[in-house]
């Protein structure tokens, strides 16, 4: 039967049977399901709020006619399924409704605020990698085989304490130290390049400390593997052994474990932005929640949630490309 099938069909079958395809299907399916859950949750949010969300947003003294008009504008007078269909339909066109407070399209508000968030989140992301990997690897090389017990203790203590400090408290500490006590950087708000330093640092230090611990443990594991002995048997210089033979192997496992750090980095921007009065999405959502501007909250939750899911997806794919073996084994 299979032999009689036309060539493209056979190729397709072979492709479907390949582990890569299985992996891609599984991961894409997981992404789609999670996105669907996110959209549904964002839609459901406004209906889960006890009482009348429009009345709550406009205040108890609002004109009933105004409330009815706003309710109609939000589509809340329609049957639930109909509303859901509209919500998803509009979402696919990139329409997120209008903000109750600002009377502006939510998408427009997000478009103006998102860049500020990315401007601190993206540098923080790279800084975390650039700090954690060399620091973790160096610590592992220096403390392997139970050498330098005191250095090991110092490393684990410092990174442990740094990793336990919440980002926003670290941000407050940084402001007190480097903006008030030593007025090197501005206290808050987005201005010149100097104003980026403290927010980015506040986002970086905690995940970098945690990730460097992970990297150290992973490096120690990799250094004990047989193929590192092979590399030693080849009399390769230390530089090649660590950078070429150990790094790719520890990177994949570290990234798998550290993947969650990156999605929580995004959420961490909310608190850090609040400390620095940064005009990003984080301050927007906090303001929106306080003012009960539900369409705006919906929009920002969708943006954050989608970003988190995409980051997780990207990390999974990156790990799969770097370490095909784990993909073949299936996970």
């Amino acid at each position: 039967m299979a032999a009689a099938a036309p060539r493209p069909l056979r190729l397709l079958r072979a492709a479907v049977r390949s582990p890569w395809c299985g992996f891609a299907l599984r991961r894409t399916w997981r992404l789609v399901v999670s996105l669907a859950a996110l959209v549904t949750a964002a839609f459901a949010m406004i209906h889960l709020i006890p009482g009348d969300p429009v009345r709550a947003a406009l205040g108890t003294t609002a004109d009933p006619a105004l409330v009815a008009a706003r309710r109609h504008a939000l589509g809340l007078d329609q049957p639930l399924l109909h509303q859901y269909g509209d919500f998803v339909g509009h979402l696919l066109q990139g329409r997120l409704g209008d903000s109750i407070g600002a009377q502006m399209p939510v998408s427009q508000i997000i478009a103006t605020r998102l860049p500020a968030t990315l401007e601190i989140a993206v540098p923080a992301f790279w800084l975390i990698l650039l700090l954690a990997i060399p620091v973790g690897m160096t610590a592992a090389v220096l403390t392997k085989d139970g050498r330098r017990r005191r250095g090991e203790l110092a490393f684990t203590t410092v990174t442990g304490v740094l990793g336990a400090v919440p980002e926003f408290l670290l941000a407050v500490g940084l402001v007190a130290a480097f903006a008030v006590a030593l007025p090197v950087f501005p206290v808050a708000s987005q201005s010149g390049p100097a104003s980026y330093v403290l927010p980015v640092l506040a986002l970086t230090v905690v995940p970098a400390a945690t990730l460097s611990r992970i990297v150290r443990v992973e490096t120690l594991r990799v250094l004990g593997e047989d193929y590192m002995r092979t590399a030693r048997a080849k009399r390769l210089p230390a530089r090649l052994r660590y950078l070429r033979h150990a790094l790719p192997n520890l990177l994949t496992s570290s990234l798998t474990l550290g993947g969650l750090l990156f999605s929580s980095l995004l959420a961490g921007t909310v608190l850090v932005e609040h400390v620095f009065a940064w005009p990003g999405l984080g301050t927007t959502i906090v303001q929106a929640i306080t003012e009960k501007d539900y369409p705006l909250v919906q929009g920002v939750v969708l943006v954050y949630g989608t970003a988190a899911l995409l980051i997780t997806f990207a990390v999974d794919v990156a790990v799969a490309v770097a370490d095909p073996q784990s993909t073949v084994r299936g996970s």
Binding site: M45, T230, R244, I285, V286, T312
Partner: protein, 650 residues
């Protein structure tokens, strides 16, 4: 294994003795003491704070608005003139109450949701597992903000939001725990006996997951404290006139320029209390024996000094034309464990030598010592260690003249790098080849070990190779240069029989082509007999016999070699006869009675064998044996004064 099969009722009885002792012990460790002190301190502040300082914290003083820190007001005053230090102390109670409340909600919710799949039917269980899986994919804070929107701004809403945000990760943990417990034999037994689902959960599942769950909840409480403070800090949690640490931080942040301590104090309180929760979790984990206490550092590594002092006699060996000269090679581990106890051997150029012995006899370590690859913390020492005319200790750079083939080809190649790359780098580093030259040579060498389509295969990674092909690739790696010696450590053990033969043929072929000598380590006498010319037999870290391979089958002089040969069934062995074994076990390293180490297992042993260890001494032409009473007769049995021939015949 006994743990799986014993009934759960056996657990409490055991729990009475060892864990109680462990708990008492943990309380005395630094972590235990710190955790307990911290707990008491925080509890005391929470109980007494509002009673003692409540009025002071609430007193509005319009004459002292927004003051900096002073003797009267340690942390200054806020915009209503209230003392901030007192407010930080008083806020402890509300902060802890809300934290514990939210933790309780999260733990109960997590337990319910986590155990549900085990209680409900398969379909509902799957749905719950999938839902939890989706929820866990989102960052906690995002979920928290979502819930805060739904529950509205304020303390009550925040408690529910923070508590519920903890549910998915807790449920995930509980699901994993129940899944592992539910697979245990006693749960299966209970199920077969028809124990109801709810009873199963209460009697069997919950008691077994209680300990790790409590542990997790304690550590999660620290996270909850931070999350709640964050929410209050954002203005979404506790609302005035109530205040917790987060709210105080929120109020003081705007004045950080004027009075930074006022903003730092509540933050510090959050961090320290969070660390305390972490410590309590740590202490509980230790008490529960979940994490072994840090092992004592190993004995000082330099305590064992290998016999290196006699480095004077390198001169006489240099004249000897052999490729490898080793005298008195020792490998020691901390604590005085001698894995290799002073062996001497020589390998001529182009010679194939087999090194055989049981596992643990030190044969692999001897080979690794030759290649300077003894794993840490082992140390190598030798009186002479020469390879190709160089002292290995003075100039350990063996470069490309020594090739290693390891036992497990699955693990010996780097999974992240292309096979071609792993070969090519040898040429790049040691032969100064360019990248292109090296890549071409790598493909050429892969072809030389009969890997089909070598150019294409060189671009693949090890997982795309079969086991036999990987071993070929490792051999090809050794052939990148001009090896004079190939050390093959059990090269065929991990391969199936059909592939074993191919690899052995390849080794023989490579040797014929390159003229390299071979040191083949194996426990398989048949393999050694096929490939090698001379055999060294190791027992308990010593070479006990050195003989030509032609003598192995019939003419071995050492009783141990004889026993080894006797243990190999041949084609002519009657299938009905039981397999011959060597009674007893080899001595542990360091277990040295002073006599011959094989004596306890030897049926020829006499008093002398238990009293003194025989040296490896010449026995006939080109043979050596370490035995007081070797089997068989030879004219030049120099080590033997009274020939044991008579006994052997009878």
């Amino acid at each position: 294994m006994s743990q799986e099969t014993r009934s759960p009722q056996a657990r409490p009885r055991e729990a009475g003795t060892a864990p109680r002792h462990r708990r008492a012990h943990t309380l005395r460790t630094p972590v235990g003491v710190t955790a307990l002190t911290g707990c008491l301190l925080v509890a005391l502040v929470a109980v007494l704070g509002p009673v003692l300082l409540g009025t002071r914290a609430a007193r509005i003083d319009t004459d002292a608005i927004n003051q900096a820190s002073s003797a009267a007001h340690l942390l200054g005053t806020d915009n209503l003139g209230r003392d901030i230090a007192a407010r930080v102390v008083v806020a402890t109670r509300l902060t802890l109450e809300l934290t514990l409340l939210a933790t309780a909600i999260g733990t109960v919710g997590g337990l319910l949701l986590g155990v549900a799949p085990a209680v409900l039917g398969r379909r509902a269980g799957r749905l719950i597992t999938a839902t939890v899986g989706v929820l866990v994919a989102f960052p906690g804070l995002l979920f928290l903000l979502f819930l805060a929107t739904v529950f509205g701004v304020g303390s009550t809403g925040a408690v529910w939001a923070v508590g519920l945000a903890m549910v998915p990760p807790t449920a995930r943990l509980v699901q994993n725990l129940t899944a592992s417990v539910a697979g245990a034999d006693y749960v299966a037994a209970a199920r077969i006996l028809g124990v109801g689902r709810c009873r199963l959960v209460v009697r069997h599942l919950l008691p077994n997951i209680a300990e790790p769950s409590v542990l997790y909840a304690t550590q999660a409480a620290g996270g909850i404290l931070v999350a709640f403070s964050g929410l209050s800090f954002l203005g979404l949690g506790v609302q005035p006139p109530q205040y917790d640490w987060g709210r105080l931080l929120n109020e003081q942040l705007n004045r950080i320029y004027v009075n930074p301590v006022a903003a730092l104090a509540p933050g510090l309180a959050v961090v320290l209390t969070g660390l305390m929760f972490g410590l309590v979790g740590e202490a509980l984990a230790q008490a529960g024996g979940r994490r072994a206490p840090r092992p004592r550092p190993a004995a000082p590594r330099r305590a064992v000094t290998p016999a290196r002092e006699a480095a004077a006699d390198t001169v006489p060996d240099a004249a000897d034309g052999s490729l490898v000269q080793v005298r008195d090679l020792r490998v020691t581990f901390p604590g005085g464990r001698h894995a290799v106890r002073g062996i001497s051997l020589g390998i001529g150029a182009g010679e194939a030598v087999g090194l055989v012995g049981e596992s643990g006899s030190g044969k692999s370590l001897s080979a690794l010592a030759l290649a300077d690859l003894v794993p840490h913390p082992g140390r190598t020492g030798a009186r002479t260690l020469r390879f190709d005319g160089h002292d290995l200790r003075a100039d350990p750079r063996l470069g490309t003249s020594l090739a290693m083939v390891f036992q497990d080809p699955m693990a010996a190649l780097n999974p992240a790098l292309r096979v071609g790359r792993q070969l090519a780098e040898v040429a790049e580093v040691h032969l100064g080849a360019t990248r292109a030259q090296a890549a071409a040579r790598a493909a050429d060498r892969l072809g030389a070990v009969r890997i089909p389509a070598p150019e294409r295969r060189a671009r693949q990674r090890p997982h795309e190779y079969s086991g036999g092909m990987r071993q070929r690739a490792v051999i090809a790696m050794g052939l990148m240069g001009q090896p004079k010696l190939i050390i093959a450590d059990e090269p065929t053990t991990a391969l199936d029989v059909a592939v074993q033969q191919q690899v052995l043929d390849l080794l023989a072929e490579v040797r014929a082509d390159s003229g390299a000598a071979l040191l083949l380590i194996s426990h398989d006498l048949a393999v050694v007999a096929q490939v090698c010319e001379r055999v060294l037999v190791m027992y308990a870290g010593l070479i006990v016999e050195d003989l030509p391979v032609t003598e192995l089958a019939r003419g071995a002089a050492h009783p141990y070699t004889r026993a080894l040969v006797g243990a190999v069934p041949t084609m002519t062995t009657d299938p009905g006869t039981p397999l011959a074994t060597i009674p007893g076990r080899p001595p542990e390293p360091g277990e040295d009675g002073g006599g011959c180490s094989f004596a306890p297992r030897c049926d020829r042993a006499r008093e002398r064998c238990h009293a003194a260890a025989p040296e490896l001494a010449g026995f006939g032409t080109g043979r050596r044996v370490a035995c007081w009473y070797p089997v068989g007769t030879t004219a030049g049995a120099s080590a033997v004064t009274t020939s044991p021939e008579g006994e052997t015949a009878s």
